[in-house]
């Protein structure tokens, strides 16, 4: 089966350019360098139609940047994104424009992602009106439909965002994304800001919508139990690189990469009581100055001298499973 979304060696570098003073200092012989962050480093990802792919990592690992490139909010520095076989890496191209409607994003903070001065009917209805998706319905009818789909009362369309609770606002965010009839949703920490009971409601909503509308999801989160619950396949990122990719079942049953193992060990679980935490040593290194070789080697209990110098490639270790670790190579 062919992929709906395909990224090839997708990379993003953020460069802090030198200001006038720094340039002058360099002219005069000072050792001033531009600061470069390799936020996303050559990520290959295939997502099939109807799949839910979880993208997991700690803060600063580049998972949100990746999501933003897929959605067309950030231009990639290198590599390509194909959607339905068409190159959409350039958001300004006609293909990019078409895909921009089909790929929508749901953001983490339901308080920051809705314009506080717009009414619900405009937040949800503006985009479909401009793109001519109303198909004879009035904007109010269309918005009422959308609100019903996400489990909100249609009579709310005259309200402002501040009149809603966190969970309701996140539903509004979902309705806004759905209003342009997307096929693919990028959910960036979409339930992280919600209370547990509300989080369950929104996760259920995502699963219902997926069935009703035949949606495909890229689900970005740091919360492993949420990702485990909703995804078919999981990718683990560490400092810009994908270190492991596997079907959810396999990933949680038998993690391969030492980082994945450490991460899964640390997740608090309801059924583990009075446990001894045996944490991974060290901090997440600064992405400004990442370790050489395998990024995880300073914290890895199995690191060898090879890990200090060479970058491990993501290689198949079983059907549908990939891991970037030298330990998998037979000596």
């Amino acid at each position: 089966m062919s992929s709906l979304l395909e990224t090839r060696e997708l990379s993003k570098r953020f460069v802090k350019h030198l200001d006038f003073a720094a340039k002058l200092a360099r002219k005069l012989g000072a050792n001033v360098q531009e600061e470069v962050v390799q936020a996303v480093d050559q990520v290959n990802l295939d997502i099939r139609q109807g799949e839910v792919v979880g993208l997991v990592g700690e803060s600063g690992c580049g998972k949100s940047t990746f999501g933003r490139m897929v959605t067309g909010i950030l231009p990639p520095s290198a590599g390509t994104i194909h959607y339905n076989g068409k190159d959409i890496s350039n958001a300004a191209s006609p293909e990019g424009h078409a895909a921009a409607l089909k790929i929508q994003m749901i953001f983490q903070d339901p308080f920051a992602s809705l314009n506080p001065r717009m009414r619900v009917r405009d937040i949800i209805g503006e985009a479909p009106r401009i793109h001519g998706l109303l198909e004879g319905q009035s904007q109010d009818e269309y918005v009422a439909n959308m609100l019903e789909k996400v489990g909100l009362d249609a009579s709310y369309s005259g309200r402002y965002p501040h009149q809603f609770s966190g969970g309701q606002r996140q539903r509004l965010g979902v309705a806004r994304a759905l209003a342009v009839q997307p096929e693919f949703l990028v959910c960036d920490e979409a339930v992280a800001a919600l209370d547990v009971s509300i989080q369950a409601q929104v996760l259920n909503l995502f699963m219902d919508l997926r069935e009703q509308l035949n949606l495909t999801y890229l689900f970005i989160s740091h919360d492993l139990s949420v990702v485990e619950h909703i995804s078919n396949r999981v990718l683990i990122m560490y400092l810009g690189r994908v270190v492991e990719s596997a079907p959810t079942e396999d990933m949680f049953h038998s993690p391969n990469h030492p980082y994945t193992q450490a991460l899964l060990n640390e997740v608090p679980r309801l059924d583990l009581r009075k446990r001894q935490y045996t944490p991974v040593a060290g901090e997440i290194p600064s992405p400004l100055n990442p370790p050489t070789g395998c990024h995880f080697h300073p914290r890895c209990p199995h690191a060898t001298s090879k890990c200090h110098t060479e970058i491990p490639q993501l290689k198949g270790i079983a059907p549908d499973r990939q891991s970037a670790c030298f330990l998998n190579e037979t000596p």
């Binding site: 369950a200 996760l203 139990s225 949680f252 608090p268 944490p279």
Partner: protein
């Protein structure tokens, strides 16, 4: 039975706002002994943080502790003058906040802040205080504490800052630490490190700990006993195993079932309908009534917190006994 370190009885903290009285904490009672870890669990607005603030006497107007007793080693903290309370706070009682930048002053070096905290309570020389500050940093797992003492808060990462905040709470060897969501803002591996240190410290020093959180899974791994709060009241208390495996209150039951866990992957989560009611307009009777699957007419009458089983108290007319 030995005297408990902390005994909170019928605590009431109300906020007198323009729109009416918000009963943020209503009739809350619990106690804990030395070395014990109590998990205080609830969703936003359930009153768990205000409970912590009330114990430390940090409730600001329009909030006010209007009733109850907070007995700390037999002494009622609510009867103390502000001067006496200052002596207790930071010396015998300490708090760790969710955001370590709330504890740390960004323009002062770590050593200045730590030495100040020691000298506020004890007459010791700066050299002795510095030594104790260094030891405290070492205890929470900060490498090369001598150099780190001279750093400013912005030179630390989030996890390190939280360690410093915990070190400051530990400085005067308090008998009780109240930790308010201290790992919520941290990454999983860093959270694991902090939990590890906290567990070790409680075991070694016999400090009692109240761990305030919305994350049931963290409490499961850390605490001995648990209090579940909803809309300002404790709705269920008991040992962690009992409450998590056999919740009696429909709210705790719903809450536990709405946490994604590995044995129900891909299935619909059991969700609690509706949302947390505003504290200004709580339903009459049981506050959970409007979201409760088993509510009936009787629930219009306020239930009482009663002992349903040994060491288990529950605030409900209809405890869920047959849950299998």
């Amino acid at each position: 039975m030995p005297q408990p370190t902390l005994d909170v009885r019928n605590l009431q903290t109300h906020f007198f706002t323009r729109d009416g009285v918000a009963k943020a904490v209503e009739d809350v009672s619990f106690s804990l002994g030395s070395g014990e870890v109590l998990g205080l669990v609830g969703e936003s607005g359930s009153g768990k943080t205000v409970t912590g603030f009330s114990i430390l006497g940090l409730v600001d107007p329009p909030g006010e502790v209007v009733g109850g007793e907070i007995l700390f080693k037999g002494r009622n903290l609510l009867k103390l003058s502000e001067e006496e309370m200052r002596n207790v706070r930071g010396n015998h009682l300490a708090m760790v906040f969710q955001d370590p930048m709330m504890t740390l002053n960004p323009v002062l070096r770590i050593d200045t802040q730590m030495i100040e905290a020691i000298q506020a309570h004890q007459k010791v020389g700066t050299d002795v205080a510095r030594e104790r500050a260094r030891d405290a940093l070492g205890k929470v797992g900060i490498a090369s504490p001598d150099e780190r003492l001279r750093a400013y808060p912005h030179q630390f990462s989030g996890g390190m800052r939280q360690r410093v905040a915990i070190a400051i709470a530990l400085l005067n060897q308090p008998e009780l630490i109240i930790a308010d969501e201290p790992t919520t803002a941290l990454d999983v591996t860093i959270q694991g490190q902090i939990l590890h240190e906290v567990q070790r410290l409680c075991r070694e020093t016999g400090t009692a700990l109240i761990w305030i959180t919305h994350d049931l899974a963290v409490v499961a791994g850390l605490a001995e006993r648990i209090c579940v709060m909803y809309a300002g009241r404790i709705v269920e208390t008991g040992s962690v195993d009992e409450v998590l495996d056999r919740p009696l209150h429909p709210y705790s039951k719903g809450l536990i079932e709405s946490v994604p866990s590995h044995n129900q992957r891909g299935r619909r989560l059991n969700q609690i309908p509706g949302m947390t009611p505003s504290l200004l307009s709580l339903p009459e009777g049981c506050a959970f009534r409007t979201r409760c699957p088993i509510a009936d007419v009787e629930c219009r009458r306020l239930p009482s917190l009663h002992e349903a089983e040994t060491e288990r108290r529950i605030f409900c007319h209809h405890p869920q006994r047959e849950t299998a």
